[in-house]
């Protein structure tokens, strides 16, 4: 700070000016929504570059027989998008609100493209595998929210595609976890726990969804699910799990790599049976809701309050009935058991301190073994076996991404072109 000359002036006047120094604390929600808006613009900016390159190439190699038509197409496409955006702004009351409103858009809504773009930006700006896996898992939760929303609004046609996207996020998270396991097994284990929760919820949503879907859409969704690499592997793993339940534990990512070959060998033989079993189970699992709602995971305490704890990024509700070990503090490793309430809130029934990795692994296996014995539900077996599915999931994910990008590039280009037109 350079105040050499401040005393040249009336110090009282400087004090008056400095009354303006303090500024109010910013509203976190507004800050986040404005940031998303900026990231969305950033995405647009960088999406423009390849578009310009392509049109440059086109100019070089293609004769411009009808230049007016080339200009017209993006204008038309953009005017449709602009109309949709203007309507959204009109409806929601401001430019910043567009992005905010997009957060709750469902597939098929006019603002869903904005939401998808924001998500892609979030992912593209994430370099480390832990964050990437966490974001992919949170997006998987968002897809599940959307599936529930679509069913609530009886918009069944989009369910199949959203289910596919959910699986794509899950597969990407598993792949990121696999990479992370090589460098940081501790954090990979946290991700594995979060995957357990996502899969638990997926099973719940699936069972509810299949019960609610009208017959004509049900077949399509069942096809999507049965062709899904994630679920297929999960259901195949269930077959294996009958033989060696405890060996496929979720947190042993490194060890499971070696077992991929064996599992692939079994693929063809088990495929049909596995799919049928999976679908049948889903169809009848309405009766199993109690066991499906159970969860258990191990993680690190991040924050604690009277109503809610945050453990390895997962919010867990606590109440007077929750049995909590004494002296737990933030940073401790704990095991949490509990149940989902109304599909989303994870209500803890007990939170126990867990000391060392070795102890944790031993206890963990025991815990899951018991759960299988008691609940005998599919869900938990799925969770245990997911690590073996990595290779195929990854391939599926890469394909999915490239498809998505193709579609999105088109949209972005339209928008960008028309932005330019607009400015002109």
């Amino acid at each position: 700070m350079n105040t050499n000359n401040q005393h040249d002036y009336d110090s009282g006047l400087v004090k008056l000016i400095q009354l303006l120094r303090e500024t109010p604390e910013r509203d976190a929600q507004v800050v986040e929504s404005r940031k998303e808006q900026f990231l969305s613009e950033l995405e647009d900016l960088f999406a423009e570059q390849p578009a310009e390159a392509v049109s440059g190439l086109r100019r070089l190699f293609l004769p411009r027989k009808n230049p007016s038509r080339q200009v017209l197409r993006p204008r038309l496409a953009f005017s449709a998008l602009l109309a949709a955006l203007l309507l959204a702004v009109f409806l929601f009351g401001g430019a910043g609100v567009t992005v905010y409103a997009a957060q709750s858009a469902l597939p098929g809504d006019s603002l869903y493209a904005v939401k998808s773009r924001l998500e892609r930006t979030r992912l593209s700006l994430t370099a480390n595998d832990y964050q990437l896996a966490s974001i992919q898992l949170s997006l998987a939760h968002v897809r599940l929210d959307e599936i529930e929303g679509l069913i609530r609004e009886k918009r069944f046609r989009q369910v199949s595609e959203t289910t596919r996207q959910f699986e794509s996020h899950l597969a990407a998270a598993i792949e990121a976890m696999r990479r992370l396991a090589e460098k940081d097994p501790e954090r990979a284990s946290q991700i594995a726990n979060q995957i357990t929760l996502v899969l638990n919820r997926y099973t719940q949503v699936l069972s509810k969804m299949l019960a609610d879907l009208p017959l004509e859409v049900k077949t399509e969704v069942e096809d999507t699910i049965s062709n899904s690499p994630v679920l297929r592997k999960v259901s195949e793993s269930n077959e294996n799990a009958n033989g060696n339940e405890n060996e496929n534990e979720a947190r042993q990512e490194n060890e499971n790599e070696a077992s991929n070959d064996n599992q692939n060998d079994n693929d063809n033989a088990n495929e049909n049976e596995a799919r049928n079993e999976n679908l049948n189970d889903n169809g009848k699992s309405q009766d199993d809701t109690k066991s499906l709602k159970d969860f258990s995971f191990i993680g690190f305490v991040e924050s604690m309050s009277a109503q809610e704890w945050r453990i390895s990024g997962i919010r867990v509700a606590v109440n007077a009935a929750t049995r909590i070990d004494a002296n737990i503090k933030a940073g401790d490793r704990v095991e949490v058991k509990g149940q989902y309430i109304s599909g989303q809130t994870a209500q803890a029934s007990e939170i126990r301190l867990r000391k060392t990795d070795r102890q944790e692994n031993t206890n963990d296996r025991q815990t899951q073994g018991n759960e299988n014995d008691n609940g005998a539900n599919e869900n938990e077996r799925q969770n245990e076996n997911r690590s073996g599915n990595q290779n195929e999931n990854v391939n599926q994910n890469q394909n999915d991404n490239s498809n998505d990008n193709d579609k999105d590039d088109t949209n972005d280009n339209d928008k960008d072109d028309s932005n330019d037109n607009d400015n002109d």
């Binding site: 000359n5 000016i17 800050v31 404005r34 950033l42």
Partner: protein
Amino acid sequence: MEAINPLINPRALTKQALAEIYEQHSPGVFRYAYRLLGDQETAEDCVSDTFSRFLRAIRHMETPIDNIQAYLYRMAHNWVMDHFRKQPLPPLSLDDDLHPNQKDNPSSQVAKKMIQERVRAALLRLPAEQQQVIQLRFLEDWSHDEVAAALGKSPEATRALQHRAMESLRRLLIEKGNDK
């Protein structure tokens, strides 16, 4: 303020770098804007528009930027000036003599708020460059040299600018200057 300002080629900024610039500088731009605007929501609009303009500007920018923070503050200041061209400046009430020796430590929040509003109103009545000097020197605590670099002037010219700004403020706040 950053101690060293390496020249930045705006066209070479990656998506990641631009996202980091937003993270790093948007709180400062908010503070800068709020001190002039006195309204949180309008200040947030200013932050959004400033970064939006920044993104559009760097696409066509040929010359390197030596101080991104100063560049963003200047853009934010221009936004505020535009804002007050479209609507009247906040009133500078003259019914109360604001002698700093009597009121430099206001006891109540209400009194403090009133004085803040009056100082803000007075500051906004200065020419744009004088406003910038006052903000950067006394609210951002930049040195004369830093302010000079940000405004593209010599340190001597910046001192003279500050002197004129302080004289004007004294007239407006303490000696019951005219409400323009």
